[in-house]
């Protein structure tokens, strides 16, 4: 297209220019639709998850009343005298996740405060990659470590600890979710405005006092969100418990014993031959639905709390 200033465009040139612009606009409009479809796909995925979990577990809930599912204390779906109470799996899941939180909460709080308030920027930049490396270790490797290194070691000190137990996988999961918990809580702590820190120092607080009486209350919703999301991760974590906590449904109050969690049960059943449409097949979806509902509640709570701390400052 040749264009000289002052001269009006020829009819041909005007047509070509407007065709060029129209093509561009068309492409832009089409791409906007394509990009929207990409974003909307996430909603479709959630919908598909809910649909699959509900429709595949429906045959199960037609046979077994919800009250039996939630209150029976035995889970023996493949025995001749089958019982379908989710409680043993739930209790093991919460034991392991609870132990993980008992490890991750104090360590996570100390690390987050250290990284956000104590470490110099250079030190912090050097340390964060280490935490990221820890987060990158495949869970099956953590499972190996829990079963074949930590458990034999711990059995020398803890009497009555079985080869498969809830304690060691719980502790390992605690370390595993640590980077995640630390990174969210540290974000929340660093979002607390500098003026609050300066105010605390001005009234003569030490750094520790400032951290506990200004930063933690100021970042409370974000730190809580970190723990809720961490708990949800621990509840849904699969390989560590499937490898090191055993595959035996066991309603126990003693974490030194082994017990199958919801996720370990799903793994165990998936390893065998599961005929599509059988009752055994639908049990893994019923167990999965239970797991999904629990994690959904914690994820949503965590999401809204996190958003709250972002809005606060």
């Amino acid at each position: 297209m040749t264009m000289t200033t002052g001269q009006p465009l020829s009819e041909y040139e005007t047509l070509r220019a407007s065709a060029f612009l129209r093509r561009g606009r068309l492409l832009a409009a089409a791409m906007k639709l394509v990009l929207f479809a990409c974003a909307a796909l996430s909603v479709v995925i959630t919908g598909a998850i809910v649909w699959v979990l509900v429709s595949e577990s429906l045959p199960f809930f037609r046979e077994i009343p919800l009250t039996t599912f939630l209150t029976d204390t035995e889970w023996t779906p493949v025995f001749t005298n089958a019982r379908y109470g989710i409680l043993p799996l739930l209790s093991a899941t919460f034991w392991a996740a609870g132990i993980a939180m008992a490890v991750a909460t104090p360590l996570g709080l100390v690390l987050a405060i250290y990284l956000s308030e104590f470490a110099r920027p250079g030190v912090r930049e050097a340390l964060k990659p280490i935490l990221e490396m820890l987060a990158a270790v495949p869970t099956v490797v953590f499972g190996y470590f829990a079963l074949l290194f930590l458990t034999p070691l711990a059995r020398q000190f803890i009497p009555g600890l079985s080869g498969f137990n809830l304690l060691i996988p719980g502790i390992v999961m605690g370390v595993m979710i640590l980077p995640y918990v630390v990174s969210i809580s540290e974000d929340a702590m660093r979002a607390v405005p500098m003026s609050l820190r300066e105010g605390a120092f001005a009234v003569g607080m030490s750094r520790v006092q400032m951290a506990f009486s200004v930063i933690i209350p100021g970042a409370f919703s974000g730190v809580t969100a970190a723990y809720l999301l961490g708990f949800s991760r621990a509840v849904g974590e699969t390989m560590v418990v499937a490898i090191a906590a055993g595959q035996n449904p066991n309603l126990t109050g003693d974490p030194r014993e082994g017990a199958a969690t919801i996720t370990a049960y799903i793994v165990q059943m998936s390893l065998g031959d599961l005929p599509h449409g059988s009752l055994a097949y639908s049990t893994i979806f019923a167990a999965g639905l239970t797991l999904f509902v629990i994690t959904l509640v914690f994820n949503l709570l965590g999401f809204f709390l996190r958003r709250k701390f972002r809005e606060a400052y």
Partner: protein
């Protein structure tokens, strides 16, 4: 209170010293915790290496799994992992970047956008095994696709989609507003601005996110077990390239497969110590791959930050 002219500074000094001690104690605790965590990571790595390094030989990489531990290898597993990762990357990266671009640059502030945001954040927290159940019920049975490389790659792609979306959005947020404005200023339309200016500028950040996502997918075991992928695979998928036109062969997508973490899980769950050695060796390889990928991502981000600063 008897505050004498000499007493006050002494009292102040005592208080200051006390607070300094408090800070020192807490700082020490922080460093100690860090050392414990690092020590654990080091113990894990060295335990794996001590147990498994002896098994990492060329034969280990070129043999199929076997009933005899000493002859077993990870050939089908590492080839399976590579092929699954190709599918995952091809699916997850464009979709994730597209979704991130829409949410960050196009999305109007309304209920729909809000719903999508909550959704993405929730998907990031859905346990990986639930994705496995989705794949089992939907891809394997409802669509009748079977336990193939394609299904394995798709389920891992869905799993890492939120990671790619979040990384894309962060990378886009770091693009200077001036670039956007000047591109619009010379008459580019929205897509031209995105394609020619914003995306190239955000590329290193997006790449970092994609690598982190893929390194997570490489280590994922649970969803692959759930779709019922076989653990004993003593054959290779059809080759992706052929010597006759059209030179590309897509039959491998429909082939059964196994991956590294599945092979490791399989060997860990056996009682014999000889298989545990194999598991450790697989673990070393797996860990090496994920740490390399993450190290590369961290390096990319570091370089990116330096160029942005200057």
């Amino acid at each position: 209170m008897s505050v004498t002219a000499l007493g006050a500074p002494a009292e102040t000094r005592r208080l200051v010293a006390q607070k300094k001690t408090q800070d020192l104690v807490f700082g020490t605790i922080g460093v100690l915790v860090l050392f414990v965590v690092m020590g654990l990571l080091l113990t894990l790595v060295s335990d794996l290496i001590i147990d498994g390094a002896g098994r990492i030989t060329p034969e280990f990489l070129t043999s199929f799994p076997s009933r005899r531990a000493a002859q077993a290898g990870v050939l089908s597993a590492w080839i399976g992992t590579s092929l699954v990762m190709i599918v995952t990357a091809v699916v997850a990266v464009p979709l994730g970047v597209g979704a991130g671009l829409y949410l960050e640059e196009y999305a109007p502030k309304n209920i729909l956008t809000d719903a999508i945001e909550i959704n993405v954040s929730n998907l990031a927290g859905v346990p990986s095994i639930i994705y496995g159940l989705l794949a089992l019920g939907f891809f394997v049975y409802a669509l009748g696709m079977g336990q193939t490389i394609l299904v394995g790659g798709l389920v891992l792609a869905l799993l890492i989609l939120p990671i790619v979306i979040v990384a894309t959005r962060e990378a886009l947020r770091a693009v200077p507003a001036g670039l956007r404005e000047s591109a619009y200023g010379i008459g580019a339309n929205q897509w031209q601005v995105m394609w020619n200016y914003i995306l190239p500028s955000a590329r290193p950040g997006i790449l970092t996110g994609a690598i982190v996502g893929l390194s997570r997918a490489i280590g994922e075991t649970a969803p692959i077990i759930t779709i019922g992928a076989l653990t004993y695979i003593a054959f290779l998928p059809p080759s992706p390239v052929s010597s006759t036109p059209p030179f590309v062969n897509l039959d491998w997508l429909n082939s059964p497969f196994t991956v590294m973490p599945i092979q490791m899980f399989n060997w860990v769950s056996r009682p014999q110590a000889a298989f545990h050695e194999n598991a450790a060796a697989t673990g070393v390889l797996l860990l090496g791959m994920t740490l390399l990928m993450n190290g590369f991502a961290i390096y990319l981000r570091y370089r990116l930050r330096r160029t942005v600063r200057t």
